[in-house]
Amino acid sequence: MTKITLSGVNKSFGANFPVIRGVDLTIDDGEFCVFLGPSGCGKSTLLRMVAGLETAYTGQIQIGDRVVDKVEPADREVAMVFQNYALYPHMTVYDNMAFGLRQAKTAKDEIERRVKEAARILQIEPLLDRMPKALSGGQRQRVAIGRAIVRQPKVFLFDEPLSNLDAALRVHMRSEIATLHRNFPAASMIYVTHDQTEAMALADKIVLLHAGKDMLKHGSIAQVGKPLDLYHRPRNLFVAGFLGSPTMNFLEASFVAQEPAGARVVLKGGEEIVVPVDGSALASGAPVTLGVRPEHLAPVAAPGAQTLTRKVSAVEHFGEYSFVYLDGGTPAPLIAKVPGDGGVKAGDSATYQAPADCCHLFDADGLALNHI
């Protein structure tokens, strides 16, 4: 049982600078859980709490059946891979991997067996006698992972492990980490990143943490769920705006009436859109925010139902697709991500349809209205 449970966890730096706020979270047996969020949201702090490297918090952390708040990091049966690898520069690759086992007084031949096995899995056998400084970034990353593997932990902790690698290597190592997860199905993994692509690619479950201007929410969980749930059904404006690239378009609108098909809203430009959500709690004329992702805006020939027409301010071509920048978003320009060259140029007027199913509606507090 390596279920990890965090209950009512709070932490502040100093008297009144909360970094973690009211976190309740369960990570299931063998689950790959990603802590995602912008820098400063406390995701690393949360991970380090599980590791036992951050103390002085309130609440409770359980690994398996054991409450670990007062357990030494080394005794928590967790292993961690650090952002900058944190390999001991004065030890060979072999000694780096063996160090923790030696500290635990593991038998010598057992150490050798485990290190060799990990080296085989990670294909770093020829490097075992090298010093860390003679390794490339990718090789160091493998050694860091190897150091975690040999400990046979119940929980693997990754703290932005790929952020020091170049883009191509990052994609490669990402798939290796996914393989690692498949090879150790019993171990739970917690992975911290600010990169949504990594999160989407790896996670069974994403924990997105709040950060930024809204100090009341800073360091609290914005949403927990499967990657595609967060993408398709963001619970609030923060989640909607964080996931997806380019980011979701937001348009100011006001609520008109609740209809059987959903909530009817009117945009600043006069267009009326029906969003399949339950807006029955809203008063007529209440300010709302309509959200629609750039990739969901489909070009249509003429204005009609669920369409909006705007002037094109710029077009960026990427070959396979194009970004069409339109006037009148809130606050950023609207973007439509369209296949091919988009068929329009700056100065044109263009019409796009927002399919009802792909529209999101947020109330004045930034909370998403439930889909019906």
Partner: protein, 310 residues
């Protein structure tokens, strides 16, 4: 001192009580040897020196007599002490005035000397490896009236009339010693300035050259301001060093002739170990301590820069 609240470990351990207390005590254990040594050999002597300064005692018997502030009153009106302190200040001032410009010139020279600079730097640095006793004895003979090479050199280049009894003449002794101090320490400041010059970004002088600035202009307008911090550090070091000077002067002149090169430290030494006035000698030492700390803290406050990059 309470060494608790250690954060490198969880506030309360779970593994076991004994291990926990060891960990909570870790900072104390790591600091204990250093603090013990400093308490015994630095702090206690410091305090004890002030205690001894209130005694009239020859250091041998148990006839130490408490005389209150008598020694301090004596010190306040002791012209020999104040002349010694004044010599310390002369030493400090001339050390700075002589060492800094020469060291700077040499640093610039080596900065432009290309391949030869490494070997020159290494040779220049040799005097810093010598003990001041060795240098003191060497220069005592170097300055010797009849057998010393200095007068011989002067004679050889036709300046024989300048030959002097360098260490025997009350007007010259202090200057002669200062010259040796400068001879030894100029390379130190030179290396310090070289490091400062090396940290001057090459792009800036390239940009300045494109703007039409000459090497001279670049030096005065850019490199010298860049060295300001380093020079300040050098001055502080040089002054504090001069205030505590002892070995070289003690060996070369013993403070003489007639106290012409007496320093606070040599005067203290003479009182304690030649005149066996332990009490008054301690007063001199404590007075010296106060003067050094006062001047040092004023200087440090003034220069505001404590550290340099080596």
């Amino acid at each position: 001192m309470t060494l608790t609240d250690i954060v490198t470990r969880p506030a309360e351990g779970g593994a076991g009580g004994a291990a926990l207390s060891l960990r909570t005590l870790a900072p104390a254990i790591f600091l204990a040897p250093a603090i013990l040594m400093l308490a015994v050999y630095l702090l206690y002597p410091l305090v004890d020196s002030f205690r001894l300064s209130l005694l009239d005692w020859n250091g041998l018997g148990s006839d130490a007599r408490f005389v209150g502030l008598d020694n301090w009153k004596k010190l306040a009106s002791d012209t020999l002490f104040w002349e010694a302190a004044w010599n310390n200040i002369l030493l400090a001032v001339f050390s700075v005035l002589v060492q800094m410009p020469i060291a700077l010139v040499l640093a610039v020279v080596l900065d432009n000397a290309g391949r030869g600079s490494r070997i020159l730097k290494i040779l220049y640095f040799l005097p810093l490896l010598m003990s001041s006793v060795a240098l003191g004895v060497l220069f005592k003979y170097f300055y010797d009236v009849t057998f010393g090479p200095l007068n011989a050199i002067l004679d050889f280049v036709g300046l024989g009339y300048l030959a002097q009894d360098w260490l025997g003449d009350t007007r010259l002794a202090l200057g002669a010693v200062i010259a040796v101090v400068c001879w030894q320490y100029i390379p130190f400041y030179m290396v310090l300035f070289m490091a400062g010059l090396a940290s001057f970004p090459a792009e800036i002088s390239e940009a300045a050259k494109l703007d039409g600035a000459s090497e001279t202009t670049i030096f005065w307008k850019m490199k010298l301001p860049h060295l300001k911090g380093t020079i300040r550090t050098a001055v502080v070091l040089s002054v504090i060093g001069a205030l505590r000077y002892f070995d070289l002067i003690y060996v070369m002149t013993g403070g003489g002739p007639e106290g012409a090169s007496e320093l606070m430290a040599t005067y203290m030494y003479r009182n304690v170990f030649s005149s066996f006035q332990l009490g008054y000698g301690s007063t001199v030492a404590s007075g010296m301590f106060i003067i050094v700390i006062l001047i040092a803290s004023v200087l440090l406050r003034f220069s505001k820069r404590y550290e340099t990059e080596v």
